[in-house]
Amino acid sequence: MNIEELRKLREKVKREMKLREKNARIRIIVGMATSGIASGARETMNAILDEIEKRDLKDVIVTQSGEKGLHPKEPIVIVEEIDKKRRFVYGDVTPEVGRMIVIEHIVHGKPIQNYIVQIEEIKEE
C-alpha cells in the first residue's frame, strides 16, 4: 500500500462509519412508533437512507423517534437544520416523498411546502 491508497481506503471506510459522525448539519428523524411503522415508516426510512447513500451526503444523519401524537399524518419525518436551529415537521411522507425531501430540501435547500405540518425553532437546552 502507498500513501494514496491509504487515503483512498480512509475515505471509503469513513463513509461506512458515518453513523458515528458527531458534527452533522442535518438530522433526519423518522417517527417509528407502532403506528408509524404500520403506516409505512420503515419503507420511508429505507428510501431516505438509500437516497443519502446514493448522493453520498456526508453531513446528514438519520435517526428515529417514537410517538409524535400526529397519527393522521403518519409517517412523520422531521428535518432538523442544526446549523440554522430550525426543525421542519413533514407529514404523510411516503417513500417517494422521503426521496423528494432529501433531494429538494436537503440538497437544494428548498423545503417542500405541501407536506410541511409545522416549522419549529430548536431551543438550546
Binding site: 491509504l6 487515503r7 481506503l9 461506512e16 453513523l19 458515528r20 452533522a24 417517527g31 412508533a33 437512507l49
Partner: protein
C-alpha cells in the same frame, strides 16, 4: 444494504468479565428474530472508561449510552429503541432525559481524551476503522515530509515526558537513541504494567492497538531502528491477542515490514510475553527477559540507549507515551504543549479504583487537581464516608492526604509530596482504611517482587516489613518509627534499580502524613479503622443486648456465655474474630472495638434493655 445503526459494545477486559459476550449473542438473536440484522452493525470496541457500569454500549447515530446491560434488557432495547426509536431511559446512564446530557456530566466534561479518543469508538480489531479515523496518517506525514531529526525536534518541542512513571523527556530519549552508534538499533514498547490496580496500558492495547504500533514505527524512524518489540505480560490475554491481530493487519497493508508505504523505510514488530514479574517493568530487567535470560536489572550506565537489547542501542518507551506520538505529529508540538502545566505537558490516563462512586479509566489534562479527579470525575466517596488519602503510583508511589487535595497533578508536584506520577494507578482510600496496614500491603508486594539481587532491597525491605508486622500486631515500639525511616532512606539510596529505590515510598509517605496512626497502634494498641485484627475485638454492649441467645448459639467456638434474658459476654480467649456474632445480632448489640475503654462484665447479668412490645395495631399493619 447500508446499515442505519451502529451498536458499539465495549469489549475491554472489564466489560467482558461482566458479560459482553452474552449480550452480543442475545442481540444477534433478537435482531435476527425481527429481521433487523441487515440494518444494524454490531461493533466491539475498547474500553470506554466506565468500568463500574459495565457492560456499556453506545448506539449511533442517536448517541445514546446504555449501562449495566443484562441479557433480559436486550429485547426491550431492540423492540423499543432499534425498531421504534424510543431510547430506553431506565437503562441509560444516569437515566438522562436527552442523549446529549451525558457529556455534560463531570465524568466526561472534565476529561480530555487524546490517547483514549479511539477507545470505545472504533473496533480495535479492524485496521480499516483505525485508518478511517486518521490512523497511520502521522506515519505517512513522517515518512514523506519529515527527517528523523525533524521528528525528534517536534517531540522535544512538545514537552512529552515518559508516561511510565519517571517522566523522562521522550524527545531527549529519542535524541540519545539517534546519536548512539551501532549497526542495529531497537525500539521496545514497555507494556509490563505491574502496579496493583493499574490498567491504563492494558486498555490502550485492547482499545486502540494500532496507535501503539504507529508510535513505535515513528520511534523507529526517528532513531534509525528497523525492529521493535512489544513486551506485554501474559496475564493480559485479550491485550496480547489484539496487538497480535493489529500487527498482522498492519503487515498485510504494508504498514509494517519492508518498504513501508513505499517509502523505502523498513520496520517490523514482534510481541514478547512476560511472565508477570513486577521487576521486568524496569528497563534493563525487561531487556534481559526479552533476551531469554532471568529478568534481573543490571547497573546503569551503560544505559539502554547505548547498550540495550543484545548489546545494541535500544529506546524503551511506555505504551501511553507511544500512543501520544501520532497526535503530536498530526496536530503539532504547539498544540500539545498548550495542554497541561509548565513542565508537564499533555494529558495523563489514570485508572481510578478504590472507594469511589465512579471507578474506571479516565484521561485528564496535566495540572488538574486531585480534588477534581476524585470528587468531580470520580463522583466522591460512597456511603458518605470520609476521604482519607489517595495512593498514587502504586507500590512505588505514595499516599497523599486530604490537606494536599488541591495539588495540581504533574510530575514535579507529586514528587515534592513524596509520591510519584507512576504509570497512573490511583487508589482512593476512605476512613475504613488503616494506613499502617496499607503500607504493609504494598511492602509485602515489593518484598515478594524483589529480584533478590541487591541486599538493600532484598534484606532491607524484609526488615521494614517485619517492623510493620510487629506494629500491626500491637507489638511495636516508638523507636521502630525512626528505624523505619532510616531503613527506608538507605534502601532508596542504595538499591540497584527503580524497584528498590521507590519501594519504601508507601511507608515513608504514610509515616510523614499519618504518623499519629502509627503511634496509636504502638502506644494505645488501637487501629482506628479496625482493620488490624490483632488490635480489634468483638464486644457486646451491655446496654444493647436483649438476651436472645442467637449469638451464643451461632458462635463456632462456643466463645460466648449468657442465657435467655441475660447480657451475653464474649470470652476473648476463645474468640477467633470471625464476626459471626455481629452478623447474626438483630439488635446492633455487637460491635468491633479497638483501644476503646468499655464496661466489662465479669459474668452474665439480667438484661437492661427492655424492648417495647408491638401493639396490636402495629402487628396488624405489618
Amino acid at each position: 444494504m447500508k446499515k442505519r445503526i451502529d451498536l458499539l459494545i465495549c469489549s475491554g477486559s472489564g466489560c467482558v468479565s461482566s458479560g459482553t459476550e452474552r449480550i452480543i449473542k442475545k442481540f444477534k438473536e433478537e435482531l435476527e428474530k425481527r429481521g433487523l440484522m441487515d440494518e444494524v452493525n454490531i461493533v466491539r470496541t475498547g474500553c470506554r472508561g466506565m468500568c463500574e457500569f459495565g457492560p456499556v454500549m453506545k448506539i449511533y447515530p442517536d448517541d445514546v449510552l446504555y449501562v449495566q446491560l443484562k441479557e433480559e434488557d436486550v429485547p426491550e432495547i431492540v423492540e423499543e429503541h432499534i425498531l421504534k426509536g424510543r431510547p430506553v431511559k431506565r437503562l441509560m446512564w444516569k437515566k438522562t432525559e436527552t442523549p446529549v446530557d451525558e457529556k455534560k456530566h463531570p465524568f466526561f466534561s472534565k476529561q480530555v481524551r487524546i490517547v483514549l479518543s479511539n477507545c470505545g469508538e472504533i473496533d480495535p480489531e479492524s485496521i480499516e476503522e483505525y485508518i478511517a479515523v486518521g490512523g497511520y496518517e502521522a506515519l505517512a506525514k513522517v515518512l514523506t515530509e519529515m527527517s528523523p531529526e525533524d521528528v525528534i525536534d517536534e517531540i522535544l518541542k512538545s514537552g512529552l515526558r515518559g508516561r511510565g512513571g519517571a517522566g523522562f523527556p521522550t524527545g531527549l530519549k529519542w535524541k540519545f537513541g539517534r546519536e548512539a552508534k551501532g549497526d542495529e538499533k531497537y525500539v521496545i514498547c514497555n507494556g509490563d504494567e505491574g502496579d496493583p490496580g493499574a490498567f491504563m496500558d492494558r486498555s490502550i492495547f485492547e482499545g486502540d492497538p494500532h496507535a501503539v504500533i504507529e508510535g513505535m514505527i515513528i520511534a523507529g524512524y526517528a532513531i534509525g531502528a528497523h525492529k521493535g518489540y512489544v513486551y506485554i505480560r501474559a496475564e493480559y490475554p485479550l491485550a496480547v491477542k489484539r496487538i497480535q491481530i493489529a500487527i498482522e493487519q498492519a503487515r498485510k497493508y504494508g504498514l509494517l515490514g519492508k518498504n513501508i508505504l513505499e517509502s523505502g523505510f523498513d520496520f517490523d514488530i514482534e510481541v514478547r510475553q512476560g511472565a508477570g514479574a513486577f521487576v521486568c517493568g524496569e528497563e534493563t530487567a525487561l531487556i534481559a527477559s526479552i533476551e531469554g535470560k532471568r529478568g534481573q536489572p543490571r547497573p546503569k550506565p551503560p544505559f539502554p540507549a547505548q547498550k540495550g537489547l543484545w548489546g545494541k542501542p535500544t529506546t524503551i518507551n511506555n505504551v501511553e507515551t507511544l500512543a501520544n506520538i501520532r497526535h503530536i505529529i498530526l496536530k503539532g508540538a504547539e498544540w500539545f504543549s498548550s495542554i497541561g502545566t509548565k513542565k508537564s505537558k499533555g494529558t495523563k490516563v489514570f485508572a481510578l479504583t478504590g472507594k469511589l462512586n465512579n471507578t474506571g479509566l479516565v484521561e485528564v489534562p496535566m495540572g488538574i487537581t486531585l480534588r477534581e479527579i476524585i470528587y468531580d470525575i470520580g463522583g466522591g466517596i460512597p456511603k458518605n464516608k470520609e476521604f482519607k488519602a489517595v495512593q498514587i503510583g502504586g507500590p512505588s508511589g505514595g499516599c497523599i492526604p486530604k490537606e494536599h487535595l488541591d495539588t495540581p497533578i504533574d510530575y514535579d508536584s507529586l514528587t515534592k509530596l513524596g509520591a510519584i506520577m507512576g504509570s497512573g494507578g490511583l487508589i482512593v482510600l476512605d476512613e475504613d482504611t488503616c494506613m499502617v496496614n496499607m503500607a504493609k500491603f504494598f511492602l509485602e508486594f515489593t518484598v515478594d517482587e524483589s529480584c533478590g539481587q541487591c541486599p538493600p532491597c532484598r534484606i532491607g525491605l524484609k526488615q521494614m516489613l517485619k517492623i510493620l508486622d510487629r506494629i500491626t500486631k500491637g507489638e511495636g515500639k516508638l523507636e521502630d518509627l525512626d528505624e523505619l525511616e532510616r531503613l527506608g532512606n538507605i534502601i532508596k539510596e542504595a538499591s540497584l534499580c527503580g524497584l528498590g529505590q521507590t519501594a519504601p515510598n508507601p511507608v515513608l509517605t504514610t509515616l510523614k502524613y499519618f504518623k499519629d496512626e502509627y503511634i496509636e497502634h504502638i502506644v494505645d494498641k488501637k487501629c482506628r479503622a479496625k482493620v488490624c485484627m490483632d488490635l480489634v475485638e468483638f464486644y457486646i454492649d451491655p446496654d444493647m443486648c436483649v438476651g436472645c441467645t442467637v449469638c451464643m448459639r451461632k458462635c463456632p467456638t462456643g466463645g460466648i456465655i449468657g442465657g435467655k434474658g441475660l447480657i451475653h459476654i464474649i470470652d476473648n480467649d476463645k474468640c477467633i474474630k470471625c464476626g459471626t456474632c455481629m452478623d447474626v445480632c438483630k439488635f446492633d448489640a455487637v460491635r468491633k472495638i479497638s483501644g476503646e475503654k468499655v464496661e466489662r462484665l465479669k459474668e452474665p447479668q439480667t438484661i437492661r434493655r427492655v424492648l417495647k412490645k408491638a401493639s396490636k395495631s402495629e402487628v396488624k399493619n405489618g
